[in-house]
């Protein structure tokens, strides 16, 4: 039996819905088999997981807390990956957004009385921080053709070191230096009330708290969609993402585009960092076991890839994976080791990647085994004259 893949002549529209959904189901089946092998009951695990993620009281509020940063890092990855710019530095760009955003929040919070002004300032600062950090990789890619994959990844570690340094190893502007607690364990300065981001409550499930950042993420998704599908900028970027030679041929300024896309991607991750400070932590988190352990930037890549880099699908996937991650945190314990959710996410992504082929190709199974070739004995050619 031989299996070959044949290019589909046309792609039925429903395939692009059925295939990803099928991939997720397949992933849960594979993970279930793995769980069975390690002595975990998959069905009850899944039930617990989904309850903790979406159904029990207060779960959706918790899920939004993890889904919001994932939406930002996912959109950041989607913005770049779609153009075949593999920015895997959303993690570090988010830290930089948090550093810049909290600086703006701390300063504006004690100098202005308008909350809107302080929050806008934080967002702008977050954009600046994230974009600047991403542009390091962008410039190196555009002018020295250095792999953006490696530089953006390595810069994540540098950004993490800076973050830790600001709170733990220096007396920086961000660090809380007064008070008893500050002498026991280093922490970031608390954001003034004016600069803390608002929340809204929906009267469902005992009150779902929607952070301001989640709404910003939706707005960013809409802007991103408009930008890529409706503007001249997006047209050129789409061509560049498909074929660099065709982009040069059509007159796209490739360097400028690389810088713009990297900057945009970093900026989105940077808003995510500002939202971390403004929405949730209300102080810069420099603990190597805090924000840096959560790996939002890396999970964002999973989110974007599962969403096939579509902004709206990214929001949806961020919500679902945010739920899983939240459930993982809630259930963590001896029966539910940390990392389990990461494993599940990885399997989902593998299945999605593997099944993508089915959208473009048809699988053909040849039942007839090919007969072994037999070399025919034949007269040797006459010697050269």
């Amino acid at each position: 039996m031989r299996v070959t893949f044949e290019r589909r002549l046309s792609q039925p529209w429903w395939l692009s819905v059925v295939v990803p959904v099928g991939a997720v189901i397949l992933a849960f089946v594979i993970a279930g088999i793995l769980f069975l092998a390690t002595g975990i009951d998959p069905l009850s695990t899944y039930r617990e997981l989904f309850n903790a993620a979406f159904f029990q009281t207060g779960s959706l509020s918790q899920t939004l807390i993890t889904a919001t940063p994932l939406a930002f890092t996912g959109l950041a990855a989607a913005a770049a990956f779609r153009m075949k710019l593999y920015n895997i530095g959303a993690e570090g760009q988010m830290y930089m957004g948090a550093i810049f955003g909290s600086a703006a929040g701390l300063y504006l919070g004690s100098h202005v009385s308008s909350s809107a002004f302080a929050i806008a300032g934080m967002i702008v600062a977050g954009i600046a921080g994230g974009a600047a950090w991403a542009l390091i990789s962008g410039v190196l890619k555009a002018f020295f053709s250095t792999s953006e994959i490696l530089t953006s990844l390595l810069l994540n570690y540098v950004a993490g070191l800076i973050l830790t340094y600001l709170i733990f190893e220096s007396e920086s502007y961000w660090r809380q230096t007064k008070g008893f607690n500050a002498t026991v364990f280093p922490t970031g300065k608390q954001l003034p009330k004016v600069a803390q981001w608002p929340t809204w409550t929906i009267n469902l499930q005992g009150g779902i708290v929607v952070p301001f950042g989640a709404i910003v993420a939706v707005i960013v998704a809409v802007i991103l969609w408009l930008l890529y599908s409706r503007t001249r900028f997006g047209f050129g970027a789409q061509v560049l993402g498909d074929s660099e030679r065709a982009a040069r041929y059509s007159g796209v300024r490739v360097r400028r585009k690389i810088l713009a896309v990297m900057g945009l991607s970093g900026a989105i991750a940077g808003i995510g960092g500002a939202s971390q400070v403004g929405d949730f932590a209300h102080a810069l988190d420099g603990d190597p076991n805090g924000l840096q352990k959560l790996g939002y930037g890396y999970t964002g890549i999973v989110v974007a890839a599962l969403a096939r880099y579509n902004p709206f699908a990214t929001l949806l996937v961020a919500f679902l994976l945010g739920g899983l991650q939240n459930a993982g945190n809630t259930l963590q314990g001896p029966n539910f080791p940390a990392g389990l959710v990461g494993v599940l996410q990885g399997i989902i992504l593998f299945c999605a990647l593997g099944c993508e082929l089915l959208v473009r190709y048809r699988v053909r199974i040849h039942r007839k085994a090919a007969a072994k070739g037999t070399a025919a004995p034949a007269p040797a050619p006459k010697a050269a004259s």
Binding site: E6, R7, R8, L9, S10, R230, T231, R232, F233, G234, F235, G236, Q238, V239, D242, S243, R245, A246, A247, R248, Y249, S250, G251, R253, R362, A370, A371, K372, G373, T374, A375, A376, P377, A378, P379, A380, P381, K382, A383, A384, S385
Partner: protein, 507 residues
């Protein structure tokens, strides 16, 4: 010659191969005798390459039987075909460009010096040198492939087959990359190999070559083998009729333009580097007038592509000047070239000329989208209407403007490129190998579009390796060799142009 030998070297019966949406070979019968040069004649897309890929084990047929020297075979892999004595020189060489000649020859070898686990480069080199001398195919075994000219690379391909002791040798469009002189030398080698008792299957769509070199001809059309005839009994006319199924009206230029007035395209002492950093264009000076078709002949790799790209803004020049309608054009800037009125049909359709996985509509607006917008926003409706119009006018066969471009056939891909470039009404139109790989009907259409562009007043610069095409369309012929351009006098014959293509000067 052993045309009537009792046991044929190759016998294919009822061979069928299907690809999604197309039957590439439809119950093909084919037979070739030991010591015979057997030509496979047919248009592009007639199924010649598929048939030879089946014979070399690259594809497995869906139906049919194959016998070599009377023994049935079913190759599951290229290795088995090689072991059975089938060798092939592919049209696009299958050589590892960073390897040496010797390394390419022993690759995958199970008989000669390469059968040992340990490889001794100098021993292999000696062996390769001897083989080259025996067949008067001289190449330096230690040279890297990328350092060799295209003609030399073809010699390596042939040597590779001989090194593998191929008794049946398939040559796929071997003259496409050669100058007329080099082609003549190749024919001598082909005859020598046949006289040694080998079977040579010579794939071509050029009649005069088939008439010159083969003993018998099998004509393929639309995947079917129509007939096998002795070359001596055939005439070019009878073969053409078989191949195309109707008489072809070869497009020839009517009333050639006389260069007059101000030249539209002026290129002055242009220098440009190639991809590997070497100088590819060495001081080219050239003018093309409105309504004129200037044709550049030459063997691939002599700087034609780099010249076209420099004029079209895709490659920065290191020195020199390009002017359109008297105004200088910045050479590294494709957008500026487009705005200046330069249209460019590139050699590489899919990948450069078209963005493969984007919809057809986007590819039709690939250059003009900057003008089809309100502020930063695109006018998607306008683009769509334009695409629908152009699909109709240029008869592009597709499912609609939203279809992914790379799903189209070669001829329709080229129509998309031409539709886009023509509808911008360029003052200068550069067409690089615009008909490569197209079937006869599509070739005719492309030719008539080019002539139409000239009639409408564009200055057309045609770059081609196909001398027939150049002779059919030109107002003026130029030859490019190693980065420099020389003009051809009106009275020069084909062989004199060929001499120029090889770097010589006639007379």
């Amino acid at each position: 010659m052993a045309t009537d030998a009792a046991v044929p070297a190759v016998s294919m019966r009822g061979v069928t191969k299907r690809f999604p949406g197309v039957v590439a070979n439809d119950k093909v019968d084919f037979e070739a005798a030991p010591g015979e040069v057997h030509a496979l004649l047919g248009e592009n897309g007639a199924g010649k390459s598929t048939l030879s890929n089946i014979l070399t084990g690259l594809y497995q047929p869906d139906e049919g039987r194959i016998e070599l020297y009377g023994e049935p075979v079913a190759f599951a892999s290229p290795r088995e075909a090689i072991d059975a004595g089938v060798g092939m020189v592919h049209q696009h060489f299958r050589l590892v460009s960073r390897f040496t000649v010797a390394e390419n020859l022993v690759l995958g070898d199970r008989r000669g010096a390469g059968r040992y686990f340990h490889i001794d480069p100098s021993a292999i080199a000696t062996q390769v040198r001897e083989l080259g001398e025996r067949y008067s195919l001289p190449v330096d075994p230690r040279a890297r492939i990328w350092q060799l000219s295209v003609g030399e690379q073809q010699r390596v391909e042939i040597l590779k087959a001989l090194y593998q002791e191929a008794r049946i040798l398939i040559l796929d469009e071997p003259t496409a990359v050669l100058t007329p002189d080099e082609a003549d030398t190749l024919f001598v080698t082909v005859r020598q190999m046949a006289e040694e008792g080998r079977t040579v299957i010579f794939i071509s769509h050029k009649l005069h070559e088939v008439m010159a070199v083969s003993d018998r001809v099998t004509v393929l059309r639309a995947g079917k083998a129509l007939a096998t005839v002795r070359t001596a009994d055939a005439t070019p006319e009878s073969l053409t009729e078989l191949m195309v199924g109707r008489e072809i009206e070869t497009a020839t230029r009517q009333g050639r333009a006389q260069p007059e007035g101000v030249p539209v395209l002026e290129v002055e002492d242009l220098w440009a580097d190639g991809d590997r950093g070497t100088v590819a264009v060495r001081g080219v000076t050239l003018t093309v007038h409105a309504g004129e078709i200037a044709a550049i002949a030459g063997v691939a790799g002599n700087g034609q592509r780099e010249l076209a790209e420099a004029i079209a803004g895709l490659r920065p020049s290191t020195k020199g000047m390009v002017r359109v309608n008297g105004r200088p054009v910045h050479t590294g800037d494709a957008q500026a070239a487009f705005e200046a009125g330069i249209g460019y049909v590139p050699e590489d359709r899919l990948g450069t000329g078209l963005s493969p996985t984007l919809p057809i509509a986007m590819n039709l607006s690939l250059k003009s989208y900057r003008h089809e917008s309100v502020g930063p926003f695109l006018r998607l409706h306008l683009m769509r209407h334009k695409a629908e119009d152009e699909i109709r006018i240029f008869e592009i066969k597709c499912a609609g403007p939203d279809q992914e471009t790379d799903e189209l056939s070669g001829g329709n891909l080229q129509k998309v490129v031409i539709a886009r470039e023509f509808s911008a009404h360029p003052s200068v139109l550069i067409a690089a190998s615009p008909t490569r790989g197209l079937d006869v009907a599509a070739v005719e259409q492309v030719h008539s579009y080019l002539m139409q562009a000239a009639e409408e007043g564009a200055a057309v610069l045609l770059i081609s390796e196909d001398l027939d095409e150049i002779l059919a369309l030109n107002d003026r012929v130029l030859v490019m060799y190693e980065g420099t351009l020389t003009a051809v006098e009106d009275r020069e014959s084909v062989s004199e142009i060929g001499l120029r293509m090889a770097g010589g000067t006639p007379g």
